[in-house]
């Protein structure tokens, strides 16, 4: 079963994503900030990380960089979520090794479609 780690400091956003991902058949875990996220990843690397950029303590870019710096975690797909819709942010995120970049507010269908592509279902369903 595909696993996803949702990282955001906004509880309601976490809640909505959690619902969507569960429904899409992911094993869902959540984290409220960068540190918690890295702890979760270290505990058990997920297939996918939905990572908010603007967070207290360590922000999304920081987490992304850390993950990419570890060879053991190269398989992890990272999708950045950001409320800052500027191109510079996007470039920066992709340069740091993120696989995709989603701007808030987003279309849930569109995001699900992109995630499906990024992490295809293993059982082919």
């Amino acid at each position: 079963m595909r696993s996803v780690l949702i990282v955001d400091d906004e509880p309601n956003i976490v809640l909505s994503l959690q619902f969507l991902m569960k429904k899409a058949g992911f094993d869902v875990r959540t984290a409220r900030d960068g540190e918690e996220a890295l702890a979760e990843i270290a505990r058990d690397a997920p297939d996918l990380v939905l990572l908010d950029v603007m967070m207290p303590k360590r922000d999304g870019f920081d987490v992304c960089q850390t993950v990419r710096a570890n060879p053991a975690w190269q398989g992890i797909r990272i999708v950045l979520l950001t409320a800052k819709g500027r191109d510079v942010e996007r470039e920066k995120g992709l340069a740091l090794g993120a696989d995709d970049y989603v701007t808030k507010p987003f279309s849930t269908r569109d995001v699900l479609a992109r995630l499906e592509k990024l992490v295809p279902s293993r059982d082919g369903s």
């Binding site: 309601n12 956003i13 809640l15 969507l20 507010p105």
Partner: protein, 928 residues
């Protein structure tokens, strides 16, 4: 026996020696081995100050006023000791400008004004006449007394004898001849008369020795020294009064007036200016003269009192004129040789004065009176004459004869009715009129030509009215009625009690009024009038003579050749001296001067200076200008050039100022630009932050809406939960938008404020009520302590409630997780309302204390993962409180508590009330 022939023979012999010395002195000067180039000769020549007035008159004055003769010698001593800087300055200025006389000096200072030079000359001649007459009188009387030897009788008054039998007339003629021989043998390019100075110094030695010899004879031969003669005098009731100094008001004023007069006279009497300034060959000599000259004065006064006492003891009945005591006491004791020596001493004192004074006056008359007039009215004819030296000499010689004969006329008309001293003092007061223009001229740049003219004219007029006319009247040449009743019968115009000023002797009275009028107009008119370009440049040069280096460059657009200048110089100072002057220039500047070469500024200035030595600065200027093909009327052109030059200076100064201003403006612009860039960045950040803050609730709203839309199979409970989130996030979005708009309005100073005077207690209670549900929900305890005597404040009730609610909500959010406690305390502090709201939360690190008042900034560790506030509460609260004239601040001890405080001034002192139109978002009042 002392026959008339012996006396006249001795006198002539003496005069011949004098002439020999002068001749030798001139010869040495021509050879370049100056006889007088030492400070001792210089100091002795200054002693020309001591005339026959000193020689005979001091004893006379001592008889009438005791030590009252002293101010005349104390004054110069004071001038030399206190005014040495001034003397040095005047000497330096005169050297640089080749000043030839006091008239030249004053004219030069006030823009080379020919008019002023003429005015000074007239005042000097008229003012000094009495003084010259005094010398003639002294020689005549002393001769008349001595020729009677061994009998001691007073000669008959000269006005009573016909002209051809009047000794004084012949004395005058001899003096004139002598002065001509001394002073006008040739016109010198340099203004120095070295031979004359040598002779004058010699005369000073003779008169000092003669007086000392006379004094010693009286004191030690006739009596037994000072002690004896003073004891005898003290024994005589008539003499005893001379020991005491008269301390009445009139006498003291007289002392002061005489001292002031003498202080000025030693500097500005034409002959004093001549020896002290014009004839000075080395500025350093002034230094030594500062003490040598006062020493001379001291020596010549030692025996004045003994001679006066001896005279009264010898001739008690007043049969003998006290002015002759120095001579008659020796005669009475049959000291033949002594008497002759004393006579020669008196003669030397008188001749010295007459020679120097007439030379000085004739130079002035020639350079500052006749030449300018000739140039003006006969310039064309003058221009045709090849050699003008003869003309110049003739003018000077004529001037000497005229001045001396006028002096004689004065003796004959008036002199008999006055004592020597009084006549001298009349001249002192006249000379005194030059002091403001000279002293002011070298110290004050603002003094103008018109000021000097006004002061001099008025001072001179008052002098005529208060001293000269009355003396004419007293001698019967005018009606005396104006003395007794005042002019036109107006009492306030009485010449001895002008405007009702009484209680002063005539001299003090005149001194006071002439100086008051003179200085008043000099300063007053100077203040209200402006200076021409040349005046300004002269004023600067005079006042700053020690500060500025000589200006080498002059702007001159002459079209003359060297030959023109050579011709000009030659005409005024003679071929030989003109050639010598040009050779000197070639040697000094190491350059050849071919006749065809155009004259440059340097040689023009040099020639003007050479010429100035001969005919004075103002005439020299006119002549040089005329030869430069500029003709007389082209002086305007020269002025224009000067004007343009000074305009250029003004422009370049303006440019400098402008470029400095531009630089400053550029700096300001750069700073403003930096600031703008910063603001721009802040704005970008703000927009980006606002966008982020808005997108966040929007994200939740869209997500849940889509979830609900896409999942019709959701169970009711979940569906309701999601919808509730949508609603709450919508509310959050609305709140956020409101807050942003609110803050933006306040920051722009446009908020809607309903400012009234209100009781803060009520507001605080309302805020507590509004937040009670918050406290209840989170089970947080609130301790309230509101003082009953809170000051009324001038505020907007809703906004103030908003502040308290914000701070209370904040406290709830950041309180301690367990046993959450919040305390509100409202009280009066130094008349201001002060509210403290604290919680027992984790506290805020020091470095965040300012940051939390910025928009969308929240302190890191919060109790919940994300506080529900908009992040604008504190910035808004701060805006509001500042609008009320107060301040919000945080005082937190991390780990212990978080305290927010704000204060608001009492209604009476509220700045918001004073300036209701200005939303006080920037009106920050410091906490008391």
């Amino acid at each position: 026996m002392l026959s008339g022939v012996t006396i006249i023979g001795a006198a002539f012999l003496y005069l011949c020696i004098l002439f020999a010395i002068a001749y030798y002195g001139d010869k040495r000067a021509d050879q370049g081995r100056s006889l007088i180039a030492n400070p001792y000769i210089y100091a002795l020549s200054i002693a020309v100050y001591c005339t026959s007035w000193t020689f005979y008159g001091s004893a006379g004055r001592a008889v009438s006023t005791g030590v009252g003769f002293l101010p005349i010698y104390i004054g110069p001593t004071l001038t030399f000791i206190l005014g040495w800087y001034l003397i040095r300055k005047i000497v330096r200025i005169s050297k640089v400008n080749r000043i030839t006389s006091i008239a030249d000096f004053i004219a030069s200072r006030y823009g080379k004004s020919a008019y002023l030079g003429g005015l000074v000359t007239v005042i000097a001649v008229v003012g000094v006449l009495p003084y010259i007459s005094l010398q003639l009188k002294a020689i005549t009387i002393s001769f008349g007394v001595l020729v009677q030897y061994p009998a001691v009788t007073m000669p008959i008054q000269s006005s009573a004898v016909p002209l051809m039998h009047d000794t004084a007339f012949f004395v005058a003629l001899i003096m004139a001849a002598f002065a001509i021989l001394f002073g006008t043998r040739h016109i010198d390019a340099s203004e120095h008369h070295e031979g004359m100075v040598a002779a004058i110094a010699f005369e000073s030695v003779i008169k000092l020795i003669a007086f000392l010899v006379g004094g010693i004879a009286v004191t030690y031969w006739i009596y037994d020294g000072f002690g004896d003669i003073f004891a005898r005098a003290a024994a005589s009731p008539e003499l005893a009064r001379l020991f005491t100094i008269d301390t009445s008001r009139g006498a003291m004023t007289s002392w002061i007036a005489l001292t002031v007069l003498a202080m000025g006279a030693v500097l500005v009497l034409p002959r004093q200016f001549q020896v002290l300034v014009v004839e000075n060959v080395d500025e350093r000599h002034v230094r030594k003269a500062i003490w040598l000259f006062p020493l001379y004065l001291l020596l010549i006064n030692i025996f004045v009192l003994p001679i006066a006492f001896a005279g009264i003891l010898h001739f008690p009945k007043g049969a003998v004129d006290p002015d002759t005591f120095v001579l008659t006491v020796a005669m009475a004791e049959k000291y033949q040789a002594i008497a002759l020596i004393v006579f020669l001493g008196g003669l030397s004192a008188a001749t010295g004065m007459i020679i120097v004074e007439t030379i000085a006056l004739s130079t002035m008359v020639c350079n500052d009176l006749v030449m300018p007039l000739l140039l003006r009215f006969a310039g064309a004819r003058l221009a045709k004459r090849r050699d003008l030296t003869g003309l110049l000499l003739a003018i000077r010689r004529g001037a000497i004869v005229v001045v001396i004969l006028l002096g004689y006329a004065y003796v004959r008309l008036i002199g008999e009715s006055y004592a020597l001293v009084t006549i001298g003092l009349v001249s002192f007061v006249a000379a005194m009129q030059f002091v403001p223009a000279i002293v002011g001229g070298v110290l004050w740049k603002g003094a103008t030509r018109l000021g000097a003219i006004a002061g001099l004219t008025a001072g001179f007029a008052v002098w005529l009215y208060t001293l000269l006319f009355p003396s004419l009247a007293r001698s019967g040449w005018m009606s005396e009625s104006f003395i007794i009743d005042g002019l036109f019968g107006w009492a306030f115009l009485k010449p001895y009690a002008l405007f009702g000023l009484t209680g002063l002797d005539a001299i003090s009275h005149a001194t006071f009024w002439t100086l008051v009028v003179n200085m008043g107009l000099y300063v007053g008119v100077s203040l209200v009038t402006g200076q021409s370009i040349i005046e300004r440049s002269q004023a600067n040069q005079f006042v700053d003579i020690f500060n500025t280096a000589q200006r080498g460059e002059r702007i001159w657009r002459g079209r003359a050749t060297i030959a023109d200048l050579r011709g000009l110089l030659l005409r005024f100072i003679g071929e030989e001296r003109a050639e010598a002057a040009f050779k000197r220039f070639e040697r000094i500047h190491d350059r050849r001067l071919p006749d065809t070469q155009p004259a440059d500024a340097e040689i023009v200035a040099y020639c003007e200076r050479q010429l100035a030595g001969a005919i004075g600065a103002s005439s020299a200027r006119i002549m040089v200008a005329s030869v430069l093909r500029e003709e007389m009327h082209d002086i305007d052109g020269v002025m224009q050039i000067l004007d343009e030059a000074s305009q250029l200076v003004v422009y370049s100064r303006r440019l400098e100022t402008k470029s400095r201003e531009l630089e400053a403006a550029t700096d300001e612009l750069r700073a403003a630009n930096e600031r703008l860039k910063e603001l721009d960045k802040l704005k970008d950040d703000f927009v980006s932050t606002v966008s982020h803050e808005l997108r966040t609730p929007l994200t939740s709203i869209r997500s849940f809406s889509e979830i609900v839309q896409d999942n019709p199979d959701l169970d009711v409970e979940q569906r309701n939960e999601f919808l509730r989130i949508v609603v709450s996030e919508s509310e959050r979005l609305t709140r956020l938008i409101n807050d942003i708009l609110d803050l933006a309005k306040m920051e722009a100073g446009q908020g809607d404020w309903v400012m009234v005077e209100l009781a803060p207690g009520v507001i605080i209670e309302q805020a507590i009520a509004a937040t009670s549900s918050l406290f209840a929900r989170d089970n947080v305890a609130l301790e309230v302590d509101i003082a009953t005597d809170l000051p009324r404040v001038f505020a907007d009730a809703d906004r103030m409630t908003q502040v308290v609610v914000n701070l209370l909500a904040n406290a709830v959010k950041f309180r301690n997780a367990v046993n959450g406690r919040v305390a509100l305390k409202a009280y009066t502090e130094k008349g201001w309302l002060r509210v403290d709201i604290s919680d027992n939360g984790p506290g805020i690190p020091e470095q965040d204390h300012e940051r939390i008042f910025e928009r969308f900034q929240q302190a890191g560790d919060t109790l919940t993962s994300k506080p529900t506030g908009t992040g604008l509460g504190l910035p808004i609260s701060r805006q509001i409180v500042r609008h009320f004239g107060g301040e919000v601040w945080v005082s937190s001890r991390p780990g212990e508590d978080t305290g927010f405080s704000f204060n608001i001034p009492p209604a009476a002192a509220s700045p918001a009330r004073l300036q209701p139109s200005i939303a006080g978002e920037r009106a920050i009042a410091a906490p008391p």
